[in-house]
Symmetry: C2
Subunit: 189 residues, 2 copies
DNA sequence: TGGCTTTGTCATCACCCGTTGACAAGCGAA
DNA sequence: TTCGCTTGTCAACGGGTGATGACAAAGCCA
Protein backbone atom coordinates (compact mmCIF):
# COMPACT_ATOMS: atom_id res chain seq x y z
CA UNK A 1 0.00 0.00 0.00
CA UNK A 2 1.45 3.32 -1.03
CA UNK A 3 0.40 6.41 0.83
CA UNK A 4 0.95 9.63 -1.06
CA UNK A 5 0.34 13.04 0.31
CA UNK A 6 -1.62 15.04 -2.19
CA UNK A 7 1.05 17.15 -3.86
CA UNK A 8 0.55 20.86 -3.74
CA UNK A 9 -0.43 22.14 -7.18
CA UNK A 10 2.26 24.19 -8.83
CA UNK A 11 0.96 27.67 -8.28
CA UNK A 12 3.28 30.36 -7.05
CA UNK A 13 0.61 32.81 -5.99
CA UNK A 14 -1.41 30.28 -4.02
CA UNK A 15 1.71 28.87 -2.40
CA UNK A 16 2.84 32.31 -1.39
CA UNK A 17 -0.55 33.02 0.14
CA UNK A 18 -0.50 29.71 2.01
CA UNK A 19 2.92 30.48 3.43
CA UNK A 20 1.75 33.92 4.53
CA UNK A 21 -1.30 32.47 6.25
CA UNK A 22 0.75 29.82 8.02
CA UNK A 23 3.24 32.43 9.15
CA UNK A 24 0.45 34.62 10.51
CA UNK A 25 -0.88 31.79 12.64
CA UNK A 26 2.56 30.90 13.88
CA UNK A 27 3.52 34.44 14.78
CA UNK A 28 0.24 34.92 16.63
CA UNK A 29 0.91 31.87 18.80
CA UNK A 30 4.67 31.80 19.20
CA UNK A 31 7.30 34.46 19.44
CA UNK A 32 9.35 35.68 16.51
CA UNK A 33 12.38 33.76 17.70
CA UNK A 34 10.53 30.54 18.36
CA UNK A 35 9.01 30.48 14.90
CA UNK A 36 11.43 28.97 12.42
CA UNK A 37 11.38 29.15 8.69
CA UNK A 38 11.36 25.37 8.68
CA UNK A 39 8.25 25.35 10.89
CA UNK A 40 6.32 27.61 8.59
CA UNK A 41 7.44 25.71 5.53
CA UNK A 42 6.46 22.46 7.20
CA UNK A 43 2.94 23.73 7.87
CA UNK A 44 2.49 24.37 4.19
CA UNK A 45 4.32 21.25 3.05
CA UNK A 46 7.10 23.06 1.30
CA UNK A 47 10.83 23.50 1.61
CA UNK A 48 12.15 26.21 3.90
CA UNK A 49 14.23 27.67 1.12
CA UNK A 50 11.06 28.62 -0.72
CA UNK A 51 9.96 30.83 2.13
CA UNK A 52 13.20 32.75 1.99
CA UNK A 53 12.90 33.08 -1.74
CA UNK A 54 9.33 34.33 -1.76
CA UNK A 55 9.69 36.78 1.08
CA UNK A 56 13.34 37.69 1.00
CA UNK A 57 14.07 37.20 4.66
CA UNK A 58 12.43 36.37 7.94
CA UNK A 59 12.18 40.04 8.83
CA UNK A 60 10.42 40.89 5.60
CA UNK A 61 8.07 37.96 6.06
CA UNK A 62 7.25 39.24 9.54
CA UNK A 63 6.54 42.72 8.24
CA UNK A 64 4.35 41.31 5.48
CA UNK A 65 2.43 39.33 8.07
CA UNK A 66 1.90 42.48 10.14
CA UNK A 67 0.55 44.26 7.09
CA UNK A 68 -1.71 41.37 6.23
CA UNK A 69 -3.42 41.43 9.61
CA UNK A 70 -6.65 43.15 10.30
CA UNK A 71 -5.60 46.53 11.56
CA UNK A 72 -6.77 48.45 14.59
CA UNK A 73 -10.11 49.44 13.16
CA UNK A 74 -11.32 45.88 12.69
CA UNK A 75 -11.12 45.37 16.40
CA UNK A 76 -14.13 47.54 16.69
CA UNK A 77 -16.81 46.48 14.33
CA UNK A 78 -19.87 45.43 16.19
CA UNK A 79 -21.89 47.30 18.78
CA UNK A 80 -19.81 49.90 20.50
CA UNK A 81 -21.82 49.45 23.67
CA UNK A 82 -20.81 45.79 23.59
CA UNK A 83 -17.10 46.37 23.01
CA UNK A 84 -15.90 45.55 26.52
CA UNK A 85 -17.86 42.37 26.83
CA UNK A 86 -17.01 41.16 23.35
CA UNK A 87 -13.28 41.71 23.61
CA UNK A 88 -13.04 40.47 27.19
CA UNK A 89 -14.70 37.17 26.35
CA UNK A 90 -12.62 36.76 23.21
CA UNK A 91 -9.32 37.20 24.96
CA UNK A 92 -10.20 35.27 28.10
CA UNK A 93 -12.00 32.30 26.61
CA UNK A 94 -10.53 32.05 23.12
CA UNK A 95 -7.12 33.57 23.65
CA UNK A 96 -7.87 36.11 20.94
CA UNK A 97 -6.18 34.14 18.20
CA UNK A 98 -9.30 33.50 16.14
CA UNK A 99 -10.62 37.01 16.02
CA UNK A 100 -9.51 40.51 15.37
CA UNK A 101 -6.94 40.48 18.11
CA UNK A 102 -4.36 38.65 16.04
CA UNK A 103 -2.33 41.72 15.30
CA UNK A 104 -2.32 42.72 18.94
CA UNK A 105 -1.09 39.25 19.86
CA UNK A 106 1.69 39.37 17.32
CA UNK A 107 2.76 42.79 18.54
CA UNK A 108 2.63 41.54 22.10
CA UNK A 109 4.93 38.63 21.37
CA UNK A 110 7.47 40.93 19.83
CA UNK A 111 8.79 41.73 23.29
CA UNK A 112 10.47 38.35 23.06
CA UNK A 113 12.87 39.52 20.41
CA UNK A 114 14.76 42.76 20.09
CA UNK A 115 14.64 42.47 16.32
CA UNK A 116 10.89 41.91 16.15
CA UNK A 117 10.26 44.73 18.59
CA UNK A 118 12.07 47.20 16.46
CA UNK A 119 9.91 46.22 13.52
CA UNK A 120 6.74 46.48 15.55
CA UNK A 121 7.73 49.87 16.89
CA UNK A 122 8.13 51.16 13.36
CA UNK A 123 4.74 50.01 12.14
CA UNK A 124 2.58 49.60 15.22
CA UNK A 125 1.63 53.18 15.85
CA UNK A 126 0.13 54.17 12.55
CA UNK A 127 -1.31 50.77 11.76
CA UNK A 128 -2.87 50.06 15.12
CA UNK A 129 -2.82 52.68 17.83
CA UNK A 130 -3.70 55.65 15.66
CA UNK A 131 -6.83 54.10 14.12
CA UNK A 132 -7.81 52.72 17.49
CA UNK A 133 -7.43 56.11 19.12
CA UNK A 134 -9.43 57.73 16.34
CA UNK A 135 -12.25 55.25 16.84
CA UNK A 136 -12.31 55.83 20.57
CA UNK A 137 -12.26 59.53 19.90
CA UNK A 138 -13.09 62.21 22.37
CA UNK A 139 -10.83 63.67 24.95
CA UNK A 140 -7.63 61.75 25.51
CA UNK A 141 -8.38 59.27 22.78
CA UNK A 142 -4.72 58.36 22.43
CA UNK A 143 -4.33 57.85 26.15
CA UNK A 144 -7.43 55.71 26.38
CA UNK A 145 -6.31 53.65 23.37
CA UNK A 146 -3.03 52.82 25.10
CA UNK A 147 -4.94 51.95 28.22
CA UNK A 148 -7.38 49.65 26.45
CA UNK A 149 -4.67 47.97 24.41
CA UNK A 150 -2.60 47.45 27.52
CA UNK A 151 -5.53 45.87 29.32
CA UNK A 152 -6.13 43.48 26.46
CA UNK A 153 -2.52 42.53 26.00
CA UNK A 154 -1.98 42.12 29.71
CA UNK A 155 -4.84 39.72 29.96
CA UNK A 156 -3.46 37.74 27.03
CA UNK A 157 -0.09 37.53 28.76
CA UNK A 158 -1.64 36.57 32.05
CA UNK A 159 -3.66 33.85 30.39
CA UNK A 160 -0.58 32.29 28.90
CA UNK A 161 1.87 32.47 31.73
CA UNK A 162 -0.65 30.91 34.08
CA UNK A 163 -1.81 28.35 31.52
CA UNK A 164 -5.42 29.48 31.43
CA UNK A 165 -5.40 31.61 34.58
CA UNK A 166 -5.62 28.64 36.93
CA UNK A 167 -9.10 29.73 37.85
CA UNK A 168 -12.37 27.84 38.05
CA UNK A 169 -14.83 28.35 35.18
CA UNK A 170 -17.01 30.42 37.46
CA UNK A 171 -14.08 32.61 38.38
CA UNK A 172 -13.23 33.03 34.71
CA UNK A 173 -16.75 34.27 34.15
CA UNK A 174 -16.37 36.84 36.87
CA UNK A 175 -12.95 37.77 35.51
CA UNK A 176 -14.51 38.36 32.12
CA UNK A 177 -17.29 40.44 33.64
CA UNK A 178 -14.87 42.63 35.54
CA UNK A 179 -12.61 43.07 32.56
CA UNK A 180 -15.57 43.91 30.34
CA UNK A 181 -16.59 46.63 32.73
CA UNK A 182 -13.13 48.13 32.84
CA UNK A 183 -12.69 48.06 29.08
CA UNK A 184 -16.09 49.52 28.41
CA UNK A 185 -15.39 52.26 30.91
CA UNK A 186 -12.16 53.13 29.16
CA UNK A 187 -13.95 53.34 25.83
CA UNK A 188 -16.89 55.33 27.12
CA UNK A 189 -15.08 58.15 28.84
CA UNK B 1 50.79 53.78 30.46
CA UNK B 2 49.12 50.49 31.33
CA UNK B 3 45.44 50.44 31.95
CA UNK B 4 44.34 47.48 34.03
CA UNK B 5 40.82 46.66 34.97
CA UNK B 6 40.70 45.91 38.65
CA UNK B 7 40.66 42.14 38.75
CA UNK B 8 37.76 40.52 40.50
CA UNK B 9 38.90 39.09 43.82
CA UNK B 10 38.89 35.33 43.91
CA UNK B 11 35.75 34.65 45.86
CA UNK B 12 33.34 32.03 44.66
CA UNK B 13 30.41 33.12 46.77
CA UNK B 14 30.65 36.78 45.79
CA UNK B 15 31.17 35.93 42.14
CA UNK B 16 28.16 33.66 42.15
CA UNK B 17 26.07 36.41 43.70
CA UNK B 18 27.32 38.93 41.15
CA UNK B 19 26.39 36.61 38.30
CA UNK B 20 22.96 36.09 39.78
CA UNK B 21 22.40 39.83 40.10
CA UNK B 22 23.56 40.49 36.56
CA UNK B 23 21.30 37.74 35.26
CA UNK B 24 18.34 39.19 37.14
CA UNK B 25 18.85 42.58 35.51
CA UNK B 26 19.26 41.04 32.08
CA UNK B 27 16.20 38.83 32.33
CA UNK B 28 14.13 41.78 33.52
CA UNK B 29 15.07 43.82 30.46
CA UNK B 30 15.47 41.25 27.70
CA UNK B 31 13.77 38.01 26.92
CA UNK B 32 15.09 34.63 27.92
CA UNK B 33 16.24 33.91 24.39
CA UNK B 34 17.89 37.27 23.89
CA UNK B 35 19.96 36.95 27.04
CA UNK B 36 23.09 34.92 26.39
CA UNK B 37 25.38 33.31 28.87
CA UNK B 38 28.19 35.35 27.36
CA UNK B 39 26.23 38.57 27.99
CA UNK B 40 25.73 37.80 31.64
CA UNK B 41 29.32 36.72 32.07
CA UNK B 42 30.48 39.88 30.33
CA UNK B 43 28.50 42.07 32.74
CA UNK B 44 30.37 40.52 35.62
CA UNK B 45 33.71 40.36 33.87
CA UNK B 46 33.97 36.62 33.91
CA UNK B 47 34.09 33.79 31.43
CA UNK B 48 30.81 32.31 30.24
CA UNK B 49 31.89 28.85 31.21
CA UNK B 50 31.84 29.89 34.83
CA UNK B 51 28.17 30.71 34.66
CA UNK B 52 27.41 27.24 33.38
CA UNK B 53 29.51 25.73 36.09
CA UNK B 54 27.98 27.67 38.97
CA UNK B 55 24.37 27.29 37.91
CA UNK B 56 24.39 24.08 35.91
CA UNK B 57 22.48 25.33 32.92
CA UNK B 58 20.69 28.37 31.60
CA UNK B 59 17.36 26.96 32.69
CA UNK B 60 18.55 26.46 36.24
CA UNK B 61 20.01 29.93 36.31
CA UNK B 62 16.67 31.33 35.17
CA UNK B 63 14.83 29.45 37.88
CA UNK B 64 17.31 30.65 40.48
CA UNK B 65 16.77 34.20 39.30
CA UNK B 66 13.01 33.80 39.64
CA UNK B 67 13.46 32.55 43.20
CA UNK B 68 15.80 35.40 44.03
CA UNK B 69 13.29 38.05 43.05
CA UNK B 70 11.09 39.83 45.47
CA UNK B 71 7.93 37.79 45.40
CA UNK B 72 4.34 38.92 45.07
CA UNK B 73 4.06 40.28 48.58
CA UNK B 74 6.81 42.82 48.18
CA UNK B 75 4.81 44.51 45.48
CA UNK B 76 2.54 45.74 48.18
CA UNK B 77 4.45 47.28 50.96
CA UNK B 78 3.53 50.89 51.36
CA UNK B 79 0.15 52.45 51.86
CA UNK B 80 -2.60 50.27 50.50
CA UNK B 81 -4.64 53.31 49.61
CA UNK B 82 -1.73 54.47 47.48
CA UNK B 83 -1.20 51.18 45.66
CA UNK B 84 -2.72 52.21 42.35
CA UNK B 85 -0.87 55.47 42.08
CA UNK B 86 2.44 54.03 43.21
CA UNK B 87 2.43 51.09 40.83
CA UNK B 88 1.05 53.06 37.90
CA UNK B 89 3.78 55.67 38.13
CA UNK B 90 6.46 53.06 38.57
CA UNK B 91 5.50 51.12 35.49
CA UNK B 92 4.74 54.10 33.29
CA UNK B 93 7.64 56.38 34.16
CA UNK B 94 10.32 53.96 35.30
CA UNK B 95 9.40 50.86 33.37
CA UNK B 96 9.15 48.93 36.62
CA UNK B 97 12.68 47.58 36.44
CA UNK B 98 13.98 49.37 39.51
CA UNK B 99 11.27 48.43 41.91
CA UNK B 100 9.29 45.48 43.04
CA UNK B 101 7.92 44.76 39.61
CA UNK B 102 11.02 42.94 38.48
CA UNK B 103 9.55 39.52 38.88
CA UNK B 104 6.45 40.51 36.99
CA UNK B 105 8.61 41.82 34.16
CA UNK B 106 10.60 38.63 33.98
CA UNK B 107 7.44 36.56 33.94
CA UNK B 108 6.04 38.81 31.26
CA UNK B 109 9.01 38.33 29.01
CA UNK B 110 8.72 34.59 29.25
CA UNK B 111 6.08 34.67 26.54
CA UNK B 112 9.00 35.13 24.19
CA UNK B 113 10.26 31.64 24.75
CA UNK B 114 8.39 28.37 25.05
CA UNK B 115 11.07 27.06 27.36
CA UNK B 116 10.98 30.03 29.70
CA UNK B 117 7.20 30.03 29.76
CA UNK B 118 7.08 26.46 30.92
CA UNK B 119 9.39 27.35 33.79
CA UNK B 120 7.34 30.40 34.73
CA UNK B 121 4.13 28.43 34.64
CA UNK B 122 5.56 25.98 37.12
CA UNK B 123 6.65 28.57 39.66
CA UNK B 124 4.58 31.67 38.98
CA UNK B 125 1.38 30.74 40.71
CA UNK B 126 2.55 29.93 44.20
CA UNK B 127 5.36 32.47 44.23
CA UNK B 128 3.45 35.40 42.83
CA UNK B 129 -0.26 35.11 42.20
CA UNK B 130 -1.15 33.29 45.38
CA UNK B 131 0.50 35.79 47.75
CA UNK B 132 -0.84 38.66 45.71
CA UNK B 133 -4.36 37.25 45.84
CA UNK B 134 -4.03 36.72 49.58
CA UNK B 135 -2.95 40.31 50.06
CA UNK B 136 -5.83 41.62 48.01
CA UNK B 137 -8.13 39.36 49.94
CA UNK B 138 -11.87 39.61 50.07
CA UNK B 139 -14.26 38.23 47.57
CA UNK B 140 -12.72 37.10 44.31
CA UNK B 141 -9.20 37.83 45.48
CA UNK B 142 -7.74 35.44 42.93
CA UNK B 143 -9.74 36.98 40.12
CA UNK B 144 -8.78 40.50 41.10
CA UNK B 145 -5.12 39.50 41.42
CA UNK B 146 -5.13 38.26 37.82
CA UNK B 147 -6.84 41.44 36.75
CA UNK B 148 -4.35 43.71 38.49
CA UNK B 149 -1.35 41.74 37.29
CA UNK B 150 -2.70 41.79 33.75
CA UNK B 151 -3.17 45.54 33.90
CA UNK B 152 0.38 46.06 35.08
CA UNK B 153 1.97 43.69 32.59
CA UNK B 154 -0.09 45.06 29.76
CA UNK B 155 1.09 48.56 30.47
CA UNK B 156 4.68 47.36 30.57
CA UNK B 157 4.23 45.70 27.19
CA UNK B 158 2.54 48.74 25.74
CA UNK B 159 5.31 50.98 26.95
CA UNK B 160 7.92 48.87 25.23
CA UNK B 161 6.31 48.17 21.91
CA UNK B 162 5.54 51.83 21.44
CA UNK B 163 8.92 52.98 22.77
CA UNK B 164 7.58 55.03 25.65
CA UNK B 165 3.94 55.21 24.54
CA UNK B 166 4.57 57.91 21.99
CA UNK B 167 2.62 60.31 24.13
CA UNK B 168 3.38 63.79 25.35
CA UNK B 169 4.50 64.14 28.98
CA UNK B 170 1.12 65.61 29.83
CA UNK B 171 -0.64 62.67 28.25
CA UNK B 172 1.59 60.30 30.16
CA UNK B 173 0.48 61.99 33.36
CA UNK B 174 -3.14 61.48 32.47
CA UNK B 175 -2.40 57.90 31.47
CA UNK B 176 -0.85 57.33 34.88
CA UNK B 177 -3.84 58.91 36.60
CA UNK B 178 -6.30 56.76 34.74
CA UNK B 179 -4.32 53.62 35.33
CA UNK B 180 -3.94 54.42 39.01
CA UNK B 181 -7.68 54.74 39.31
CA UNK B 182 -8.33 51.43 37.60
CA UNK B 183 -5.73 49.58 39.65
CA UNK B 184 -6.91 51.03 42.92
CA UNK B 185 -10.45 50.12 42.05
CA UNK B 186 -9.44 46.53 41.38
CA UNK B 187 -7.70 46.36 44.74
CA UNK B 188 -10.48 48.00 46.70
CA UNK B 189 -13.40 45.91 45.58
C1' DT C 1 59.41 26.74 49.31
C1' DG C 2 56.49 23.03 47.62
C1' DG C 3 52.21 20.99 46.98
C1' DC C 4 47.01 20.94 47.01
C1' DT C 5 42.55 22.86 46.52
C1' DT C 6 39.77 26.38 44.80
C1' DT C 7 38.68 29.66 41.24
C1' DG C 8 38.60 31.05 36.67
C1' DT C 9 39.91 30.71 31.47
C1' DC C 10 40.34 28.76 26.87
C1' DA C 11 39.54 26.01 23.05
C1' DT C 12 36.26 23.37 21.33
C1' DC C 13 32.14 20.66 20.52
C1' DA C 14 27.54 19.68 18.75
C1' DC C 15 23.50 21.85 17.54
C1' DC C 16 20.19 24.95 15.39
C1' DC C 17 19.23 28.88 12.61
C1' DG C 18 18.43 31.76 8.21
C1' DT C 19 20.16 32.00 3.86
C1' DT C 20 22.17 30.73 -0.74
C1' DG C 21 23.18 28.74 -5.18
C1' DA C 22 23.08 24.64 -7.79
C1' DC C 23 20.03 21.32 -9.31
C1' DA C 24 15.44 18.57 -10.40
C1' DA C 25 10.76 18.40 -11.85
C1' DG C 26 6.71 20.15 -13.92
C1' DC C 27 4.43 22.26 -17.77
C1' DG C 28 3.18 25.19 -21.58
C1' DA C 29 4.66 26.78 -26.26
C1' DA C 30 6.69 25.93 -30.65
C1' DT D 1 9.09 16.02 -28.96
C1' DT D 2 12.02 19.48 -27.45
C1' DC D 3 13.03 23.85 -25.66
C1' DG D 4 12.70 27.08 -21.99
C1' DC D 5 10.64 29.20 -18.11
C1' DT D 6 8.61 28.59 -13.72
C1' DT D 7 8.19 26.22 -9.36
C1' DG D 8 10.15 23.67 -5.88
C1' DT D 9 13.99 20.78 -3.52
C1' DC D 10 18.55 19.72 -1.70
C1' DA D 11 22.86 20.17 0.36
C1' DA D 12 25.75 23.20 2.28
C1' DC D 13 27.64 27.45 4.52
C1' DG D 14 28.58 30.81 8.04
C1' DG D 15 27.31 32.44 12.35
C1' DG D 16 25.72 32.09 16.94
C1' DT D 17 24.23 29.25 20.97
C1' DG D 18 24.84 26.55 25.50
C1' DA D 19 27.67 23.26 27.29
C1' DT D 20 32.20 20.59 28.50
C1' DG D 21 36.67 19.12 29.89
C1' DA D 22 41.44 20.18 29.91
C1' DC D 23 44.35 23.61 31.52
C1' DA D 24 46.33 27.96 34.10
C1' DA D 25 46.60 30.85 38.03
C1' DA D 26 45.81 32.20 42.71
C1' DG D 27 45.79 31.48 47.50
C1' DC D 28 46.50 28.60 51.54
C1' DC D 29 48.76 25.40 54.57
C1' DA D 30 52.62 22.79 56.00
Amino acid sequence: MFCHVAPRPRNAEATRAAILAAARERFARESYDDVGMRDIAGDVGVDAALVSRYFGSKEELFLTVLDSCANGRDLMDGERADFGRRVARDVIFEGGGEGKLKKLLIMLRSIGSAKAMELVQRTGSESFFDPFAAWIGGEDGAVRARLAAATIMGMAVSREITAGFGLTPAECERLADRMALILQNIIDN
